[in-house]
Subunit: 197 residues, 2 copies
């Protein structure tokens, strides 16, 4: 009995990740209640990302200029590359304000289960960048899970013949967490990576 | 360093209820990765609800025809009115398939704290419907919280002079829940409303 245009919006919203039926209905009714200008701004923003955003030809980051703002920033060190799985991992690293190098987006991670092999992610582009532009360090910031670890090992292996330092993000206890909630693997990694104080 | 059209979409998405910065970024990158046709379908659906959906002149439900599909359904009993705070409460009741009457949407609930008084919600429309169309029962299905209870009391008081039965949804233990998680008030209500088996 939900009116068709409303049912249609709810249906479109449920296609988004993490949005179930209840959330979609809540969002749809919210959009209905707000001024038309706000709905138009949202609709326009959705259309604009699809027309104006593309991948940086150097690092695969999402950008509206090529090379992207990070690649062309003269304050950043192009000899330090941080490798991430997806473009949306970049803001997570950027918010630390501690990284002053550039990025390389793999566009995925190795996953034999999902049938994703080395040819499906952009390791070749990374190797080419390392070989051609005097890169001194590659920080592998793939996810701390099975796929991310496999990808990190593969990258390390591919870079072995090249004169570049390859590093991996540290594993250990999440800051602000509680010791008793740490899982076995994280705890083992935290012990293994212990430092003198 | 996030490209402006992408930052703009993330910003628009954070205006939606329950969508924080991280969720908005996740949704925006998801939209970026999907085919353009999907983004267009979502944008169109957003615009269409704003142009095609309005309030039913009888019951205030969200509709694309007037009176709404529920009000004009000949299989429904117009002498039984279920009163809800918002139009989005209707699908929750409809999904039970147990209610065969019609609805009245108040468009809010009484809240002295938020400055919402009787003139700000549509109790007058409800009284008029009850007086003019031989309504036999009004089921008050406002929320089980302070505002909803205050609204229910006010409605009951307003209907006192009219020959109509006024009822309130039952309070008690949520089905499928665990007794130990029931809060004090719900438990008291469950005891108070106990039935012979």
């Amino acid at each position: 009995m939900t009116a068709p245009p409303l049912a249609n919006l709810i249906n479109e919203l449920t296609k988004l990740p993490g949005i179930g039926g209840k959330s979609a209905a809540r969002l749809a009714y919210f959009i209905l209640k707000r001024p038309s200008a706000e709905a138009e701004a949202l609709a326009t923003a959705i259309l604009e990302v699809k027309t104006k955003i593309f991948r940086c030809s150097t690092c695969n980051n999402m950008t509206d200029i090529d090379p992207c703002a990070i690649c062309i920033d003269p304050r950043r060190d192009p000899t330090l590359i941080c490798v991430v799985e997806e473009a949306f991992n970049i803001p997570t690293i950027e918010q630390t304000r501690d990284f002053k190098g550039v990025y390389h987006v793999l566009l995925g991670a190795l996953s034999p289960l999902k049938g994703i092999g080395p040819q499906d992610i952009d390791v070749a582009g990374l190797i080419k960048r390392v070989q051609n532009s005097g890169v001194r360090e590659v920080i592998v910031a793939t996810n701390p899970n099975v796929e991310g670890e496999a990808t990190a090992s593969y990258i390390a292996q591919q870079l072995r013949g090249i004169a570049v330092k390859t590093t991996r993000l540290a594993f250990g206890l999440p800051v602000g967490g509680d010791l008793e909630y740490a899982d076995q693997v994280t705890m083992a990694k935290a012990l293994e990576g212990r430092r003198e104080i």
